[in-house]
């Protein structure tokens, strides 16, 4: 499945996605994607952080509480974190957060963790597409996170 297959009514609900990208590979890959003019969904909004290890559940919940449809962290590849293990720490926290969402009866696809490689724009765009597709699946199944509140 690709982003083109998503129905317009679902796509309409995907308005704001906050993506925390680390200062190293994350930002690097998004810049590379930009330079290569690789189109992706305009709902993707990138926040620059020093390392994904800097992003805690606080930031993620802040984003969701302020209207984001989904949040993702994009860091360096596993084993290549520029600050040793920030991406792994972030992954563990997101794992717990996903579990919280499941326990609340939501889809666990509203928060996600990815990696990308600075030299490859397509990995960043792949992450974004994957994010949008997962979100669209979640919305199709049970609506957005904002629904019903």
């Amino acid at each position: 499945m690709s982003c083109e297959d998503i129905e317009p009514e679902v796509m309409e609900k995907i308005q704001d996605i906050v993506v925390f990208m680390c200062n190293e590979c994350g930002q690097g890959s998004a810049n590379t994607a930009g330079v290569a003019r690789m189109a992706y969904n305009p709902a993707i909004r990138i926040v620059r952080v020093q390392c994904t290890g800097q992003v805690g559940p606080i930031q993620i919940m802040d984003a969701l509480n302020n209207g984001a449809d989904a949040v993702a962290c994009v860091g360096c590849c596993l084993g290549a974190c520029h600050f040793f293990n920030g991406n792994i720490l972030s992954m563990h926290r997101i794992k717990l957060l996903k579990k919280v969402f499941k326990e609340l009866g939501y889809s666990d696809q509203f928060v996600n963790q990815y990696t990308s490689r600075a030299a490859e724009g397509e990995t960043a765009v792949g992450d974004f597409e994957d994010l949008v597709i997962r979100l669209s699946n979640a919305i199709r199944e049970e609506g957005t996170i904002k629904d019903g509140c």
């Binding site: 720490l89 992954m91 563990h92």
Partner: protein
């Protein structure tokens, strides 16, 4: 000073505790158990206890307009408390601050009466330390090797978190009830900061950072697709909400849950929790019969798994039940002296008013003849899937020990 104490829904443990104020001559106290039908009159201080639902808004506004100051007393009022766990199933238990502007709040489960006096007199509250500062255990805060959910503590000097059990003490203030003294990790009823659950989640996620987990590739862009599947760690934390957000779910910033409700708030609070946590939760719930409910739950499980308890345990249990009926008398008569005496007795046996010391297999700390204790501990944690029933209590446990369904007919 005119003090009116209002008991809203559910938990009346804090309301009962306010009986202790009754003896003091400087207060003119009125206890109001049915605030909806309260006849409005001007008052100096209104103390709100019990959990609050959206339909209480009008009543609360009425109280606010008639009072010089409003004090929220106890977790249920100030943060939603344990009943806010039902928000997981669509309830809207909300903190007092979301209805009216409160003047003071006294957190805690049970809220401390000394703090309440301070708040009523609008004195400056004493600055409290972090719970870890008064905890006998010592922390190294190293990355964890593994995470456990079972509480079988032999080690009395190492921090719960270092041992792989989740304890919210890092985000809690020092308190009187001190579950940590009874080998029960803190669940954070007096948080030191806002959104303590989320912060604690971040901390515990970090502590697990060294544990290797399986990763996978996504088909798009060939990047590591992470955090998708459960692993050993998340499996060892089967009830994140109950552990991290036991008292703070309504103020945690998490959205309201979408899991269908059973219709009964008490049952919804219990559903989804772990079997070994049930006695602790029922001890927190208050109600005039929380002791008998706790013991009922324990006994239900024991009978079904044919766990033998020692004579001493039986004696303690009987004493507790006796105390409960005496306590009800004291509450009825609003006699502070009698109330104090009985609660002290309960504390002596049950550890604190949350019954932290009453546990599966009996009483955790005080049991002298160790005849069967190891045995029934093993039984309890050897979770047995199935349905358990005993009189007014009926519950179903799934293979990992989560309560799937529970029916409690309130007596």
């Amino acid at each position: 000073m005119d003090v009116r104490i209002f008991q809203f829904n559910g938990c009346n443990k804090c309301f009962n505790e306010t009986i202790l104020l009754n003896g003091e001559s400087k207060y003119k106290i009125e206890f109001i158990e049915d605030p909806k039908n309260w006849k409005e009159m001007k008052t100096d201080v209104s103390v709100i206890t019990g959990y609050l639902l959206p339909e209480d808004k009008d009543t609360l506004e009425k109280i606010k307009s008639n009072s010089k100051r409003v004090v929220g007393y106890g977790n249920c009022t100030t943060m939603g408390g344990i009943f806010a766990l039902a928000n997981q199933r669509g309830y809207e238990v909300s903190p007092l601050s979301s209805f009216i502007e409160e003047t003071e709040k006294v957190n805690g489960c049970l809220g401390e009466i000394e703090e309440l006096s301070v708040a009523i007199n609008s004195e400056a509250a004493p600055k409290l330390q972090n719970l870890c500062a008064v905890c006998a255990r010592e922390t190294t805060c190293d990355y964890l090797e593994s995470v456990h959910r079972q509480i079988e503590l032999e080690d009395e000097t190492t921090c719960f978190n270092d041992l792989g059990y989740l304890c919210n003490g890092f985000v809690a203030k020092e308190c009187k009830e001190r579950c940590i003294d009874y080998n029960a990790p803190c669940r954070g009823c007096k948080p030191i900061i806002d959104r303590s659950g989320i912060r604690m989640l971040g901390m515990f996620g970090t502590l697990m950072g060294n544990i290797e987990v399986a990763t996978e590739h996504s088909e798009l862009g060939a990047t590591d697709k992470l955090a998708d599947r459960d692993d050993d760690i998340t499996d060892s934390l089967p009830d994140v909400l109950g552990n991290f957000f036991r008292f703070t779910l309504s103020t945690s910033g998490l959205p309201r849950g979408r899991i269908p409700s059973s219709g009964n708030i008490l049952n919804d609070v219990f559903t989804g929790r772990l079997i070994e946590e049930l006695p602790l939760i029922s001890g927190l719930l208050g109600g005039n019969r929380s002791i008998s409910l706790t013991l009922k739950i324990i006994e239900t499980y024991e009978t079904a798994n044919s766990i033998e308890v020692s004579e001493q345990t039986k004696k303690y249990r009987k004493e507790l039940l006796d105390l409960e009926s005496q306590l009800q008398e004291a509450i009825k008569s609003k006699d502070p002296k009698q109330y104090k005496k009985i609660t002290d007795e309960i504390r002596k046996i049950g550890g604190n008013m949350n019954l932290s010391n009453v546990y599966f297999g009996g009483f955790k700390a005080q049991i002298d003849d160790k005849d069967n204790f190891e045995d029934y501990k093993a039984h309890v944690f050897d979770v047995v899937e199935g349905t358990y029933k005993n009189g007014s209590v009926e519950f179903t446990i799934d293979p990992i020990g989560i309560v799937k369904e529970i029916k409690i007919k309130e007596g």
